[in-house]
């Protein structure tokens, strides 16, 4: 036990615990002017052959390409052709339409859970555009954009969300915990952070085999606090692994803001410098900046120059999940006040500024994506929705625990079948 009275030390100041507090709570008027966002194009683009130290300045500022007039400016401009830009725009709009429909589906009781990526669509979508099709992602639950950008069927995603007959995961996983090897998308874990060092392990394997494919490890700002983050960074640094490590900093975990993950004292990109790994801090709502940074890091990794950590700075515009109501811990209007804007609107405005897009075409695109999502939903629901599931194929519960069903699971399977009153095999 502590001697209840701390020792008398007259000339010692009393210590006190600092507990980080977000700038605004419900009722406050959000004001992001403190952010000091650098002008687009103002940040240099170092050579990929350089050292971590070369990127130190980039870890505290922000790589931005789209300026206030919606033009792409500066050394980070990836100079993408209009078709590529339109493809990115379409994928972002699809993600938003998909999120919207599936959120409603959950509210309608068709499934148990859903998580949107609203306001963060540029990150997964533009990153996917910058990667090779064969590169492997170790995502979190907010990178549905990777699957959509790589053309994974929406119906497949929805069947997983409904845990229905069409779900290739056999109804075993929580909604949105997708997995698809063919689309370079590793199975999402419910346990935060685990995928981050796994990505480094995959990259190490690729290097061991003399392959040319790289791995991308994704993690949220809150989850960077987990030990897995340190494991991933340490292994990446030690073995110079061909990986891109991405922190999606949407400034919120569930109810706790990024200050509770250490963001009051340093950016997440700065963590990288401490490991001797280059770190880039990037405007995550600027699709061109997202693309350019991922391309820079991917080229480094593929050239056997090692890992890069990218912090995509964005804002989680909606609740953490369908189980969360953010008005309980932050101002309702905060999303509106967010200065880096809406990634869809910003890319749209850029295409318009290029003379490659206009409002009618955009409305048509939005309508088209919405129709496409609704059509997929109809198809998916043909396979059923969650409340009806779990009644047949009971025996499937016991498959895939091991490659073969051992005796004790076989016995339990028979018991379960007897219970379900369906002896039929």
């Amino acid at each position: 036990m502590r001697d209840k009275e701390p020792p008398e030390q007259p000339n010692r100041p009393q210590l006190s615990l600092h507990v980080p507090e977000p700038h605004f709570r419900p009722g406050d008027k959000p004001d992001f002017s403190r952010l000091g966002i650098p002008a687009a194009g103002s940040v240099p683009r170092p050579d990929i052959g350089g050292s971590a130290a070369d990127t130190a300045p980039l870890a505290t500022t922000m790589v931005r390409v789209l300026d206030e007039q919606h033009n792409a400016v500066g050394p980070w401009d990836p100079k993408l052709d209009p078709d590529t830009l339109r493809k990115i725009l379409r994928d972002m709009v699809t993600v938003r339409a998909f999120d919207d429909r599936m959120y409603r589906a959950q509210r309608q009781g068709k499934t148990s859970f859903y998580m949107k990526a609203t306001g963060e669509e540029a990150i997964a979508v533009a990153a996917a555009a910058a990667l090779d099709r064969e590169d492997m992602n170790f995502p979190t639950y907010r990178q549905q954009g990777l699957l959509i950008a790589r053309g994974y069927p929406l119906v497949e995603m929805m069947c997983q969300i409904y845990s229905n007959k069409g779900d290739k995961l056999k109804g075993r996983q929580l909604p949105i915990m997708y997995s698809d090897k063919a689309h370079g998308f590793f199975t999402i874990s419910g346990n935060l952070g685990t995928q981050f060092p796994q990505a480094v392990g995959w990259a190490m394997a690729s290097a061991i085999k003399g392959d040319s494919r790289i791995a991308v490890g994704w993690i949220g700002d809150g989850a960077t606090a987990e030990g897995d983050f340190h494991a991933g960074m340490t292994f990446a640094a030690v073995y110079n692994a061909p990986a891109v490590l991405v922190v999606v900093n949407n400034q919120w975990a569930i109810s706790s803001f990024s200050g509770i993950a250490g963001a009051e004292r340093a950016t997440f990109a700065q963590r990288a410098i401490g490991y001797g790994i280059p770190g880039l801090r990037v405007d995550g709502n600027d699709a061109l900046a997202v693309y350019a940074a991922m391309r820079w890091a991917a080229d480094r990794a593929r050239s056997n120059l090692g890992s890069t950590l990218i912090e995509y700075f964005t804002y989680r515009a909606e609740g953490h999940s369908t189980s969360d109501d953010p008005t309980g811990y932050r101002p309702a209007g905060e999303a509106k006040a967010w200065p880096l804007g809406d990634p869809v609107e910003r890319l749209k405005a850029h295409l318009v500024a290029l003379g490659e897009w206009d409002d009618e075409r955009h409305e048509a695109l939005v309508a088209e994506c919405d129709t496409q999502v609704r059509a997929a939903q109809k198809l998916a629901e043909k396979h059923g929705v969650l409340p009806e599931q779990g009644k047949d194929n009971i025996e499937s519960i016991f498959d895939d625990v091991y490659a073969e069903v051992p005796w004790h699971l076989a016995e339990q399977r028979d018991q379960a079948l007897a219970e379900s009153g369906d002896e039929a095999r």
Partner: protein, 337 residues
């Protein structure tokens, strides 16, 4: 006496303990301003200030390690692990440090702390919001493991756990946070208000750690259960009209062996029930103790009713969960043998 659900009772237990002892502090993910994803710590920061109730980074290792340092200093930390499924990153700190520090220092340092975590299934939480990992802690010498099944016990046991000189793993059956559950998921949820055990004394009281509760007296067989399964078992017993004695263990370690022996010596038959997977679940320890100590009283093999030896399959929740059907079959078996 106010009627409370389990969340309110646990919240009240925190307040009573924190009012009574300035050394009690609360930390965990989202427990501060917001009051926890299940709202168990709601309002604590408002009443006791940010220095005594605050959010932690998402690092269960760090949460437990911080609690170790705080306990070493002389505080009594109460930490929340958001779901029992997420306790594993803190497992080394719990097993290698929290559990062993009193022993390895011959009592020079002790680790009074409570590690709370909602556990168990029945909420469509899938593989990582449904687990029952209690036997991974009952195997670890130096830890006490407590699992309440009613608001009254939840408050009394949590206060007892906070006052306990040793570390307590406190698993909360989240399926019954808001109301008891008889295992019929398709029936409307009953609120706690209708249940006698929702009557929670005001202020300070404790339910002793290490004492089971006989929640139904009977002579035909003994049912050993804890958490949500206490209510499922009671319902099944009533339905089957069997004169079973149902024991709510409430504490798994140290176990109330007297209550178990007395009952089984009387009934000669025993059923052991839990949500966790069967192999090496806590039921295995219960079966072993009963057959070691009551062998010559047993008229039939002790039977285990448990979850399957698989991860928790989202859509198949009700084929996985040990519900009324599984229990009734088992009751018949034990009585028939």
């Amino acid at each position: 006496m106010p009627a409370m659900n389990m969340i309110q009772a646990l919240n009240d237990a925190h307040r009573v303990a924190m009012r009574g002892d300035p050394d009690v502090v609360v930390l965990g993910e989202d427990v501060g301003y917001f009051g926890g994803v299940f709202r168990v710590t709601e309002g604590l920061q408002k009443e006791f200030g940010k220095q005594r109730s605050f959010d932690s980074p998402i690092n269960e290792c760090g949460i437990v390690a911080a609690a170790v340092g705080m306990a070493a200093y002389g505080l009594k930390p109460v930490v929340e692990i958001q779901f029992a499924d997420y306790i594993y990153p803190g497992y080394d700190q719990i097993v290698s440090e929290v559990a062993k520090i009193r022993y390895r220092t011959a009592g020079e340092w002790s680790m009074p702390m409570v590690i709370r975590a909602p556990y168990g299934g029945g909420i469509f939480g899938g593989q990582t919001h449904s687990q029952s990992p209690e036997s991974l802690f009952t195997h670890i010498a130096g830890l006490k493991t407590v699992i309440p099944s009613t608001p009254h016990d939840a408050k009394g046991l949590l206060i007892a756990a906070i006052q306990d000189p040793d570390p307590v793993i406190f698993f909360e059956p989240k399926r019954i946070y808001n109301g008891p559950f008889d295992g019929y998921h398709d029936r409307p949820v009953k609120p706690w208000a209708k249940h006698p055990a929702s009557e929670v004394f005001e202020g300070h009281y404790t339910v002793p750690i290490g004492k089971a509760a006989i929640v139904r007296k009977g002579a035909a067989l003994t049912v050993l259960a804890y958490g949500t399964m206490v209510h499922v078992a009671l319902a099944a017993v009533e339905e089957r009209g069997i004169d079973a004695e149902v024991i709510d263990l409430r504490t798994l370690v140290p176990l109330d062996i007297m209550a178990i022996e007395q009952s089984v010596e009387k009934t000669g038959r025993c059923l052991v029930v839990h949500e966790a997977p069967k192999t090496s679940g806590f039921g295995a320890e219960l079966v072993s103790l009963v057959q070691e100590r009551c062998f010559y009283h047993l008229e039939a093999p002790v039977v285990r009713v448990t979850g399957w030896d698989t991860p928790y399959p989202h859509a198949y929740e009700w084929a996985y969960f040990p519900g009324p059907k599984r229990l009734k079959k088992a009751l018949e078996k034990v009585m028939a043998d």
